[in-house]
């Protein structure tokens, strides 16, 4: 099919959306892990916005153009080949947390839209170790009603939860091994 007709067909099917279109139901994902190291020790591993590739097993590289400055853009290249672009919106070294949002991602890589998240290292309940919390807010990848199953609310929540779990569980291993 000629390219122009293919593009037209996609538009007619309503698959081309305004950049930030989304459905009316935002999802929430919150995952935590307890680590037997102090918050300072754990923060030292994750504190740099461009260091996520070092502790997340699915990410191959994660350079950030402005380090930990607000507005810094990091580009995650996944080991599976996909890319995610994320902009830093808030950084609090003293509170051991940062907040960022995805500005560009293909729904085949991560089936979400309008995604933002916080990574935070807190003191553990016993006063000795840490709890790392990764929490995000996002919409499903398909902005209209009646989404296909791979782009519905459940798929979005599941995918994000898996990302958080994989990262946090691996972070715990790294931190507790003393790396």
């Amino acid at each position: 099919m000629p390219r122009i007709l293919a593009v037209f067909a996609i538009m007619v099917l309503g698959l081309v959306q305004p950049a930030f279109a989304h459905g009316p139901v935002r999802q929430k994902a919150v995952e935590k892990v307890e680590i037997a190291k102090t918050p300072d020790e754990v923060w030292a591993i994750v504190k740099n916005y461009d260091s996520i590739a070092k502790w997340h097993p699915a990410i191959a590289s994660s350079p950030a153009d402005k380090g930990n400055e607000i507005g810094s853009v990091r580009i995650l290249t996944l080991k599976s080949g996909g890319k995610i672009t994320e902009q830093l919106e808030r950084y609090d070294d003293a509170a051991h947390s940062y907040f960022y949002r995805i500005t560009d991602v293909d729904v085949k890589v991560l089936p979400v839209s309008n995604y933002s998240a916080t990574l935070e290292v807190k003191a553990g309940a016993d006063g000795k170790g840490s709890v790392v919390e990764w929490r995000g807010a996002f919409y499903r990848g398909y902005p209209n009603n009646d989404p296909p199953p791979e782009l519905n609310d459940d798929a979005a929540l599941k995918a994000v939860t898996e990302v958080y779990r994989a990262g946090l569980d691996h972070l715990k291993e790294l931190a507790e091994k003393g790396q």
């Binding site: 459905g23 929430k28 599976s80 949002r101 933002s116 929490r135 791979e150 898996e162």
Partner: protein
Amino acid sequence: MKKHPSVAAITPTQTLPHQGGGFFSKRHRAPGLPAFSAVALLAGLVPALFTGAVAGPLAYVTNQGDDSVSVVDTAPNGSAPLVVETVKVGRKPAGVAVAPDGNRIYISNPESRSISVIEREGDHHRVVKEIAVGQGPLGIATDATGSRVFVADWYQDGVFVIDAASLAVTGRITVGKSPSGLAVAPAGDRLYVANRESDSVSVVDLASLAVIAEIKVGTAPFGLTVDPLGTRVFVANVQSGDVSVIDTASLNETRRLKVREFPYGVALTPDGSRIFVTNQHDNSVSVFDGRTYEPLKLIPVGEFPEGILVHPDGRRVLVASWFDDRMDVIDAASLAVTGGIPTGRSPRAFGQFMRASKRLAEAKSDATVPPVSP
């Protein structure tokens, strides 16, 4: 007629079937990846059991994560608010409009594609009807007398008109793309509608239901509020991080107030003297002087603050913190957060979630209020 529990039901955690995802390549999938489980409820935040009569005006908070509405007794100023009842409604409720007489509360359920009609009988509430409306009912508002209910359909680019007496859909007004927040002028003559994907506000003449103007505002306008005196309309522009002020006489945007990232809603004190704006990504409320527009304070609140409303007594501001599952209370004079109460999961409270305080006639009779220039 369904029976509705008066205490929030605890939703069990869910387990979802494992599916293949694009984030992890098969070769590099983390070993021993646990089976998926959904978010657990915040532990230990079961609302206190209500045992007495309702004291003060009621606030109705839509809990999008629980398919319910928390009925909050805001009590006389000085006492802590309390959840007195939880009403089960449709799926993923978001919008709320309390009728002018306080006896009906309309709730939009975008996922059920319906509106739940709640009626108050003394201290208790029940859903009397669930009406199918459109493809994505979200923003909802009543007219000044409560005789009509307007529902913005996020997907169909229109506003449905419902007759309150018959609860039948009697009309549809075509507006811009993805209409969201909407409100009726205090005089009852106009409806203002924010069109999120058109970056505009539609103005509808309520006698004819004709659109008489479309005003360009900022990027992705969402929550919309009319000044109780009717002279100004405020709309939060989510993507441009500002609030448009519209002069209702000329139907022009006359100024932009810079706020923080991803603003959601705007609230005004009954005399129009203070403006409050929720900033979703900044976990804060921006406060402005309602006459001079001078920024007064940036108040830290819970995470992802959304629906915001000034209590009819003018002394407190209620804010739904969507991520924290909590309603924060701000003192409107001191601008300090004075407390918060747990709500159901993912509270939004999008709209007029308490009975409005003043009608235009009452507001105009207050001779001490100086005129405001938009």
